[in-house]
């Protein structure tokens, strides 16, 4: 499903955190939203997911103004995982994952879908455990299963790899890659530029609530651009399409 935002501005606590953002995301594309802390990554994702309402401009899902799409329908179009999500109750893992199916009512293949989603994040063995008895990384994987369990054509995850060990980071990025290859539109906020460069088709670099650059990893990840935005000197070593990002020092 094609997704775009037009002249999107967002206000939070009286401060403008997104300034007239224009960008588009195509189906089959895995996009990483990167930028320093406070660049507006989470704000952009939350607005795209419909959690926050824009102050001006609009989000378009499949060419339709998202503001006029009923909330229940929008939830079937877009699945979203916030940066931090702490379950209020000690639900069982399988029950928490099943909450991702709420926009679809009670589908008959609920149990299978939940198992399949847990399998994808390597957490099937946790299915009957209470979520309060998971480690931080395990909980994050279970929450990602909640994101993946539905059938939404747009997946948005805010720093999905934070708290995960290296094996599960890679596994997760492969999972998102497969979702994109299957035709979904996938947007991830990432801090790990190496992972972003290796797995994503597109990079959206944000700074101060404005998109600074957008394009293929090779075009966006240049020492000059990264230096401007993050204030660090760095190197990108490209080897067989796998990028290694090496921060050198403060500028």
């Amino acid at each position: 499903m094609p997704v775009s935002c037009r002249d999107l501005s967002l206000e939070r606590r009286g401060r403008l955190v997104l300034h007239e953002v224009n960008c588009a995301f195509s189906p089959g594309e895995l996009t990483a939203v990167v930028g320093p802390n406070g660049a507006g990554k989470s704000s952009l994702l939350e607005t795209l997911a419909g959690v926050l309402a824009p102050a001006a401009g609009r989000v378009e899902l499949d060419g339709r103004d998202a503001a006029v799409i009923p909330a229940a329908e929008r939830a079937r179009l877009c699945a979203y995982l916030p940066q931090s999500e702490s379950p209020a109750w000690s639900l069982d893992v399988a029950d928490l994952v099943a909450l991702g199916l709420l926009p679809w009512g009670r589908p008959a293949d609920r149990a299978q879908r939940v198992s399949a989603a847990l399998e994808r994040v390597d957490a099937l063995h946790l299915a009957n455990r209470a979520v309060t008895r998971l480690s931080g990384g395990e909980l994050r994987r279970v929450q990602l299963a909640r994101l993946l369990v539905g059938r939404a054509p747009l997946l948005i995850a805010d720093e999905p790899t934070a708290a995960l060990d290296i094996r599960h980071q890679l596994q997760l990025m492969h999972t998102f890659r497969r979702q994109a290859d299957a035709g979904k539109t996938v947007l991830l906020a990432l801090h790990d530029l190496s992972l972003a460069a290796r797995f994503c088709d597109r990079i959206l670099l944000l700074h101060g609530g404005r998109p600074i650059a957008r394009g293929a990893p090779q075009d966006v990840f240049t020492p000059a651009l990264i230096g401007d935005v993050y204030g660090v000197s760095c190197e990108f070593r490209w080897r067989d399409g796998v990028a290694e990002f090496v921060p050198l020092d403060l500028l």
Partner: protein, 335 residues
């Protein structure tokens, strides 16, 4: 595991019937239950009148009020994502209480006959709605759970101050005593009038909360995630608040303020529904009904100079359960 839980819930439901029978048999006079039942509703015989006009409505009211309080507590804890929340936090009880106090005071001087069984409950329900409305307005648009609690605490404090003021300037000892008894909560001397008055409000409240069950489920993930799952806007919190105001407001209106049921009951049954905030509504209604009915049986059978107030009994039953919960929590079990 799940089967055991369903069995436990079924057991609770099955317990309601013997408890109801026990309630019908309890009282200062012993009656021939079988004969009274056989004599029927219209009978003028002493036993039949006691059964049909006194004990049955009282027992049914205990069930209804207990269910409303339990359900309201479950909804409140679900909406605020906080296991320490209870309906009184929203000002429902104090709003109803203040309205009742004002009537108990000035009702006589305004020439309003207090014999009107429905006037006090109706005003109290109005008071409950007003209090919740004030909390909603004070918290403002799109308020987070914490701001709602804060607004509730503020409104509650103000209403408590007004109640203290009213007690302070009580026109007579008699009025004061009546108010204190009302605040302690009681099911004594309640009849079909009160039951029929509370029933539609509690049913409407239950219906509103039923419509909000998936919102409460989604909220276990947090407000942002609930919004992304389609539960956006003011409609859903309003459903829950309206449901609580109607059901708990009506319960307080007919039975006075009965504490602890709304706080403790959801805790007790949460493990039985695998912590699901949606199913918790019904399980809490069931357990609340049972708890209040048992408490009222205790009240009726308690022999003393003064009638025991049911609010005190629920706290006496509820508090030890809470101690036990905390101690088992200390052993590393989830609360």
């Amino acid at each position: 595991m799940q089967q055991n839980n369903n069995l436990a819930l079924g057991f609770l439901a099955a317990l309601l019937l013997p408890a109801l029978l026990a309630a019908l048999m309890s009282g200062p006079v012993s009656i021939d239950l079988g004969a009274a039942l056989a004599q029927g509703w219209h009978s003028e015989a002493g036993d039949a009148v006691i059964l049909w006009q006194l004990r049955l409505p009282r027992a049914l009211l205990a069930i209804l009020v207990g269910a409303a309080l339990g359900m309201g507590g479950a909804a409140m804890q679900g909406m605020l994502r906080n296991p320490l929340a209870e309906p009184a936090l929203l000002g429902v009880s104090s709003g109803a209480a203040l309205a009742a106090i004002l009537l108990l005071y000035y009702g006589v001087s305004w020439g309003l006959a207090r014999e009107n069984g429905w006037l006090l409950p109706l005003l109290a329900i109005g008071g409950a709605f007003c209090a919740v409305g004030c909390v909603w307005l004070l918290a403002g648009r799109g308020a987070s759970a914490s701001r709602l609690v804060l607004a509730g605490v503020a409104i509650n404090a103000f209403l408590s101050a007004l109640m203290a003021l009213a007690l302070n300037y009580a026109p007579s000892m008699f009025a004061m005593q009546e108010i204190v008894f009302w605040l302690l909560g009681s099911l004594a001397n309640r009849g079909w009038d009160q039951l029929l008055l509370a029933l539609p409000f509690i049913a409407a409240g239950a219906l509103l909360l039923f419509c909000a069950r998936n919102y409460l489920r989604a909220l276990s993930l947090g407000e942002a995630s609930a919004a992304s799952l389609g539960f956006r806007g003011r409609r859903y919190p309003l459903l829950v608040l309206g449901g609580i105001a109607a059901s708990v407001g009506a319960a307080v209106a007919v039975a006075g303020t009965i504490g602890f049921v709304g706080l403790v009951v959801p805790h007790l049954v949460r493990p039985l529904v695998r912590q699901d905030p949606g199913r918790l509504l019904w399980a809490s209604a069931l357990a609340g009904a049972l708890l209040l009915l048992l408490a009222d049986i205790l009240v009726v059978n308690f022999v003393g100079a003064q009638e025991l107030r049911i609010g005190a009994v629920t706290a006496f039953i509820g508090a030890p359960f809470f101690f036990w919960l905390i101690v088992s929590g200390r052993r590393g079990q989830a609360l």
